[in-house]
């Protein structure tokens, strides 16, 4: 405990002193270098006196100016990340206080310290916020948006986002204006209706950053999460329109009916335009990803760039950048993921998570610092009225809308759900930045607004953020289920969809299922064909699902396998054999035959693996990816057999053989490495793909059939190796096994590259 506090204090000290150069950056003189001073006045004649004293060669110089800006930025980021680290080290703290609260508090502390030191504070630059800090968070959210629940609840989400935000803004604006009038003090005198409306439109938008930060830690069930989160994303369009609308109106001074009508039109333009821009960029990204098979390394870059361009393009036209970003991510994801390699997918995932996490941290810290910095005008009435009204309007809005929406929903929202939705309407940095953007001449009460908004943000993040978790537990709200995807559910769900579409056809009723079905058909017949490269374009969703399941299981096995217990190979092999032999008998003859056929076909495909490293390819894996499906399916069959591959024990001396070729780790391949020195662990035996054109092999030696499967497999391999090799892939013969059965025996592994000739010997060695 003492260590933790020490760590925290050290971090704080660093932050303060790191920010001192940042603070003093604004307008201060450049530090004098240690170089001999050049003449300051540029107009003096440039004659260096011939008799300048010789100076010694400077071995070590300090020149901070040239790296000042990047250095300071990097330092801030580093310190923010260290803080995040520190936050998670303290065990109990992180479960009580949501991260966002801590970060704001740290920001406050740092701001206070900087102020004490007399430096100028770094303020949250709105440009920085909107153009750099916000997009990663939104892209992360949009790219990984769970489409099915989002689509199913889209109506509800839209109603909450649009109607709810409108209600909030108008209700709060009007009542606040009334309060200002009633209050009658001089401070509030200048606040007219339009200013109030503008203020309330800023303050009523639920903030995706804050929602994400808090909801991620409480793990409520999917429906509520997607409702609040979806609302926070989609209400950006409304906020943008209202903000610009009221800003314009306030500056123009008067509002006519035409203006109102134009405002409504503007809303549709902003929302739909944003989505359109995003969709266009998403399709472009999908098309680009079709052609990246030769340059896998830069695939993630396309995803990020296209999304960012979508955001920026939308911002150019004052369309909703957030909706553009979401639309881009949603549209591009299914196609891009089908086209890119597995590594790129992982890269994208981790980069997005990293950037969004970093952005979030920085945003909250800066919020705290800006609070200390900003000029404040505190007015008790205004601020308290704002907070009360925020809560009130939210509660009323949610209750009223839910009553209306429940008439149209199949799964109704209960009172508990409504409470969480209302309580989860957190405000955050977007509101603050929008308030910051207000021009001070048109809005003399800008500071008042800023103060009020900061208070609201603090209130929602601290009070609501901290108490939502105990409330969720208290109310026993359903938590997120452990979703283990089962193929049964998937198949039956799809089947039922078809049934229902059919029954709807019988009834003559064309509900949303009908249109969804049509859209799916359109997608399958056109979009997928154009945007997905190769075989995967024909792949129905069920197959992708199935493959994904298989892959997950294989990875699970692989990971647990390589971390498995090490037991000596030889002594236990006998006992293992004995043990397994009992269960061996269950393998039917036909399964054996099938297995043999596979192995035969696989091992005939051997070729040189070119281990090239180039900037453009990590592995040569193009040909393999097509065969991945087949490979996995056969592996599945072997798994079903479930008894056979265990017996492939590798004799000890085999461990000197070349290390197992690292299995291809491209799209969906198993990630396996077997350490040559490893003792027995779960064998990862994966059969490499069998291209359909595998030549039929010569028959198996009949005497092998009598052996128990392990040796049969070994024998099979032996005969395979002998029966000649065509070109084709290097087989890595690995069978993934079920974890829980704790298979100990060794795996066969293919020899490394360039060792084709020695395969024979190695195969022979496998006879146990």
């Amino acid at each position: 405990m003492g260590m933790n506090w020490l760590l925290w204090s050290v971090l704080l000290v660093f932050l303060v002193f790191g920010s001192v150069p940042v603070g003093s950056d604004a307008g201060s003189d450049p530090d004098p270098d240690l170089h001999p001073d050049p003449p300051r006045d540029p107009h003096t004649p440039q004659h260096t006196p011939p008799h300048t004293p010789r100076r010694t060669f400077p071995v070590l110089t300090v020149q901070f100016q040239t790296v000042r800006k990047p250095f300071e930025s990097a330092l801030w980021i580093l310190l923010a990340s260290l803080l995040k680290l520190g936050f998670h080290i303290i065990p109990r703290f992180s479960s009580v206080v949501p991260e966002s609260c801590v970060l704001i508090m740290v920001g406050l502390l740092v701001g206070a310290l900087i102020k004490l030191l007399g430096e100028t504070l770094p303020v949250l630059d709105t440009q920085l916020f909107f153009l750099v800090l916000l997009p990663p968070i939104i892209l992360d959210a949009g790219y990984f948006l769970p489409i099915r629940p989002f689509g199913e609840n889209l109506g509800t989400i839209l109603v909450f986002a649009v109607v709810g935000t409108l209600w909030n803004s108008f209700f709060m604006g009007v009542v606040l204006y009334g309060v200002c009038l009633l209050e009658g003090s001089s401070q509030l005198a200048g606040v007219d209706l339009l200013a109030c409306l503008l203020f309330s439109s800023i303050a009523s938008a639920v903030d995706p950053v804050a929602v994400l930060a808090v909801f991620e830690e409480i793990h409520i069930h999917e429906l509520l999460h997607i409702l609040v989160f979806g609302e926070s994303l989609l209400n950006d369009a409304v906020t943008v329109v209202l903000y610009h609308l009221f800003e314009e109106f306030a500056m123009m001074g008067e509002v006519t009916l035409v203006d109102v009508f134009l405002g409504v039109l503007c809303f549709f333009v902003v929302a739909l335009g944003g989505v359109l821009v995003g969709a266009v960029y998403g399709l472009l990204a999908a098309i680009t990803s079709r052609f990246t098979s030769h340059t896998r390394v830069i695939e993630p870059l396309f995803v990020f760039l296209y999304s960012y361009m979508a955001y920026l393009s939308a911002e150019v036209f004052h369309l909703s950048g957030i909706m553009a970003l979401i639309a881009c991510g949603v549209v591009m994801r299914p196609y891009v993921e089908a086209n890119i390699s597995h590594k790129s997918y992982t890269t994208i995932k981790y980069f997005l998570k990293m950037w969004s996490s970093l952005s979030e941290t920085l945003i909250f810290i800066f919020l705290g610092v800006s609070t200390v910095a900003g000029p404040h005008t505190w007015n008790w009435t205004f601020v308290s009225a704002t907070i009360v009204l925020c809560l009130l309007s939210r509660v009323l809005g949610v209750a009223g809308l839910t009553f209306f929406i429940n008439k149209f929903r199949m799964v109704k929202l209960t009172g508990k759900d409504q409470f969480i939705v209302a309580y989860g309407g957190l405000r955050g940095a977007i509101a603050f930045s929008l308030a910051f953007l207000l021009s001070a001449e048109h809005f003399p009460m800008k500071n008042l607004f800023l103060t009020a908004i900061i208070t609201v943000v603090f209130f929602t993040v601290f009070v609501q953020g901290m108490t939502i978790r105990p409330l969720v537990d208290l109310l026993a709200v359903k938590k997120k289920k452990e979703t283990k995807f089962t193929i049964n559910e998937e198949i039956h769900t799809q089947f039922l969809e078809h049934v229902l579409v059919g029954i709807e056809g019988v009834c003559g009723h064309y509900g949303h299922r009908h249109w969804k079905d049509k859209l799916g058909r359109l997608n399958a017949s056109y979009l997928r064909r154009w945007l997905i490269v190769g075989e995967r374009s024909q792949e129905p969703q069920l197959i992708s699902f199935y493959n994904r399941l298989e892959l997950e299981q294989a990875l699970l096995v692989a990971e647990s396998g390589t971390a498995g217990r090490l037991t000596p190979a030889l002594p236990s092999s006998a006992s293992l054999l004995a043990e397994k032999q009992k269960s061996v008998m269950n393998v039917s003859k036909e399964r054996e035959q099938r297995i043999r056929k596979i192995l035969r076909a696989n091992l005939q495909k051997t070729s040189q693996r070119l281990r090239s490293y180039s900037r453009h390819a990590l592995f040569l894996e193009e040909e393999e990816e097509d065969d991945w499906n087949e490979m996995k399916l056969q592996k599945q069959r072997l798994e079903m057999g479930r008894r056979m591959s265990h017996y492939l024990t590798v004799p000890a001396n085999w461990q000197e053989s070349p290390p197992l070729r690292r299995a291809k780790t491209e799209s969906g391949n198993q990630v396996k490495e077997s350490r040559p020195s490893a003792a027995v662990s779960v064998p990862i035996v994966s059969v490499e793909s069998v291209p359909p054109s595998a030549p039929a092999d010569s028959g198996m030696s009949p005497d092998k059939t009598a052996d128990s499967p392990p040796q049969t497999v070994g024998g099979a391999l032996k005969s395979l190796a002998g029966s000649g090799r065509g070109k084709g892939r290097k087989p890595s013969v690995t069978f993934a096994l079920d974890v829980d059965e704790q298979k100990l025996p060794r795996c066969l592994s293919d020899p490394g590259p360039n060792k084709i000739d020695e395969e024979d010997e190695e195969h022979r060695e496998w006879e146990v």
């Binding site: 199949m410 049964n488 198949i491 078809h498 509900g511 197959i543 056969q634």
Partner: protein, 194 residues
């Protein structure tokens, strides 16, 4: 309202149907109109050809199974009451229905919906979904886009997942169990028929 009552009068034992299926009279009238619209030759009953004439159904991969569900006992004529009884399965579940102790479950209860779905799989009515039947369903749904081997692996895995008593087929209990996390009300109800 007038048209409803006049339509209703054309329906034999309308009250009984309303009682049994839970449809309102307005719905029943609407369904009757649909029945008559489908019955192009004005026979008074529906035949499989009438169903096949429905465009949307023809595009459906499992249309023959759906049609088969209506004409369950091999008969060629479907009268209105059977039509309505089958459609009643797809009514959303009434949560505020009082549970009378001795009455049977309504047609649209969760368990009956599942039984209906099960029958769609189990064509030979032996109470189990065999591997073959599963393969047929998969083949129909995946519409020749996949190889036989892939189908077989999927079928294998499906049975492996659901089959608890290891008889290589899925019984109704196992079927029900594998779908216990799925919101059947949502997946098997048509709001139109509420």
């Amino acid at each position: 309202m007038g048209s409803t009552s006049s339509t209703l009068s054309k329906i034999p034992n309308a009250d009984e149907l309303i009682q049994e299926t839970g449809f309102t009279s307005a719905h029943l009238a609407r369904l009757f109109e649909r029945f008559e619209a489908l019955d192009k030759d004005k026979k008074g009953y529906l035949s499989p050809q009438d169903f096949e004439a429905i465009k949307e159904l023809a595009l459906n991969p499992i249309c023959d199974r759906i049609i088969g569900a209506f004409f369950s006992s091999g008969q060629e004529m479907l009268d209105f009451s059977s039509f309505v009884r089958i459609l009643a399965h797809f009514r959303p579940i009434d949560n505020n229905r009082t549970k009378e102790p001795n009455s049977p479950d309504p047609i649209n209860s969760r368990i009956n919906k599942l039984k209906f779905a099960f029958q769609l799989y189990d064509q030979d009515k032996d109470g189990k979904i065999s591997r073959n039947e599963l393969l047929q369903v998969l083949r129909a749904m995946l519409e020749k886009q996949v190889t036989e081997e892939q189908l077989e692996s999927i079928a294998d895995r499906t049975i492996q997942e659901a089959d608890l008593d290891r008889d290589d087929a899925i019984s109704f209990e196992e079927f029900r169990k594998s779908l216990e996390k799925v919101n059947i009300d949502h997946k098997m109800s048509i709001r139109f028929l509420r």
